[in-house]
């Protein structure tokens, strides 16, 4: 006679409920969260007869992506079924390893503004540039700057001596030079150019390259002051300097879950609804005239823990679903946020391949 637990019908299948909650949820108590580590080991529940293996088939069955909001600059989407380490890897890659273009070298011809040369160069470097970095190559020390790895901008502003007020220099004053550097024209008779552009850069990029936001204040000039400079932008990644980071920021949070352990009725219910700053709870009127508190919008919970402060600690449980991540990406580069995420996945794939293939 076989006693395999899968064949005996009246035995409970799967894990007992409290263990299932431990396995799939992070419980956020008043002082700190508990059960924060994910249990990856396939034999973790072997003694209960439950198999915890996560095979590729199981992953493809459980995995789900849902885009909630997509605008030109911002994207919010949900990923269900991945582990926290992958979500964090995407966040780290989006912030530090997706390449963009940013101004690196500034050749100053004339600067009589109140902003020092290096501060001006620093500010110019932080301006987001409207160029698709996938069309450009990296510029290393031995390379010659040409139209495939450099973008040249020129800025020439002056405030006239008779002007009654100060002139604000905004980022639209940066004009793109698709034919390359014009610095050699400053010094009469000099033949050598600073960049060697063979073709017009418009042929590579097809659209004019400007700055992403035209209203960024770079400097302010008083009467009689002027700035004349040429700036070269190159491709880089956020790890070298934050100016090359393509996102304003990228973050994720886990899906919140709010559970009532005890029913909350009447006056307490009304108080509870007032306590929550993001209106997670709502009042439901029962048939006998009583009011009951229900969870209406658990997704907007910010874990401020106002609802479990004080005497309601035992009645409400705040939980996070361990494998459901709500990603938000705010793009600050030429690429839209969905293209940034696709680039991030490609970069992670390349990293995995490099780590594997270079093992001799």
């Amino acid at each position: 006679m076989s006693w395999k637990s899968s064949e005996l019908d009246d035995l409970p299948k799967g894990l007992p409920e409290h263990l299932e909650i431990q396995r799939t949820r992070v419980i956020c108590k008043n002082d700190a969260p508990i059960h924060t580590e994910g249990i990856q080991y396939s034999g973790a529940y072997a003694s209960s007869g439950v198999d915890n293996t996560i095979s590729f088939e199981k992953f493809s069955k459980d995995f789900k992506i849902e885009v909630i909001r997509l605008t030109e600059d911002e994207m919010e989407f949900d990923m269900v079924g991945i582990d926290a380490s992958i979500a964090n890897a995407f966040r780290r890659i989006l912030i530090a390893e997706v390449p963009t273009m940013a101004i690196e070298k500034v050749f100053v011809v004339d600067n009589t503004s109140p902003i020092a040369d290096e501060s001006l160069a620093h500010r110019l470097g932080l301006i987001p540039i409207n160029a698709d970095p996938r069309l450009f190559e990296y510029l290393s020390e031995n390379d010659v700057p040409n139209e495939r790895n450099t973008i040249v901008y020129r800025m020439q502003v002056s405030c006239s001596k008779n002007s009654p007020q100060r002139l604000t220099v905004k980022s639209d004053k940066l004009e793109w030079l698709p034919e390359g550097s014009k610095l050699h024209e400053m010094v009469p008779g000099q033949q050598k150019t600073f960049t060697s552009f063979t073709n017009n850069q418009m042929e590579i990029t097809k659209t004019p390259l400007g700055v992403k936001h035209e209203d960024i204040t770079i400097a302010r000039l008083g009467p009689g002051q002027a700035i004349e400079l040429e700036a070269h932008a190159v491709k880089g990644i956020g790890k070298t300097h934050a100016k090359w980071s393509p996102v304003a920021t990228a973050w994720y949070r886990m899906l919140p879950e709010v559970i009532f352990r005890k029913e909350i009725k009447g006056e307490e219910a009304v108080e509870l609804v007032k306590k929550c700053p993001v209106k997670v709870f709502d009042i439901e009127d029962l048939a006998n005239g009583e009011k009951k508190a229900v969870v209406a919008r658990p997704r907007s919970c910010t874990l401020c823990r106002e609802c479990i402060r004080g005497n309601t600690e035992e009645e409400i449980e705040l939980r996070r679903v361990r494998d459901h991540f709500i990603f938000t990406i705010e793009s600050a580069s030429a690429l839209p946020p969905e293209a940034l995420f696709t680039e991030a996945v490609k970069i992670l794939e390349e990293k995995c391949d490099r780590v594997l293939s270079e093992l001799s």
């Binding site: 990856q40 493809s60 997509l70 992958i86 964090n88 270079e358």
Partner: protein, 120 residues
């Protein structure tokens, strides 16, 4: 003044191998992989995937020093497999997962654009 250049975090210098392997002399089926110019981004993912392998007894990673840009991944396996096999299997599994993820994301994007366009 003593900080290394920022590009050192990801550029592997000439002469050093990206991944090197050292067998542990005292314990059977145990090895240590040193991956140059990588950090928690890859380390945590590889460790997580190794934990999912039933043949792996021990898997961990560390950054020996935050200013030395390399990670050490230590793997002990049962007799059924070797650390190199476990490492290769883990990264191949990760590749499959990431490809599936990318495809899922692109499909969902198309669906979202269509829903959006039909709404107008």
């Amino acid at each position: 003044m003593n900080a290394p250049d920022r590009y050192e975090r990801f550029v592997v210098p000439e002469g050093t191998k990206k991944v090197s392997y050292e067998r542990d002399t005292k314990i059977a089926n145990a090895a240590s992989f040193t991956v140059e110019r990588e950090d928690h981004t890859i380390g945590n993912i590889v460790r997580m995937q190794l934990h999912r392998d039933p043949n792996v007894l021990f898997a961990g990673y560390k950054l020996p020093h935050p200013l030395q840009y390399k990670i050490l991944v230590r793997i002990h396996t049962t007799g059924q497999s070797t650390p190199t096999q476990a490492y290769n299997l883990a990264i191949n599994d990760l590749d499959n997962e990431l490809q599936h993820l990318k495809k899922g994301f692109e499909d969902e994007l198309m669906r979202f654009q269509e829903r959006h366009n039909q709404g107008y």
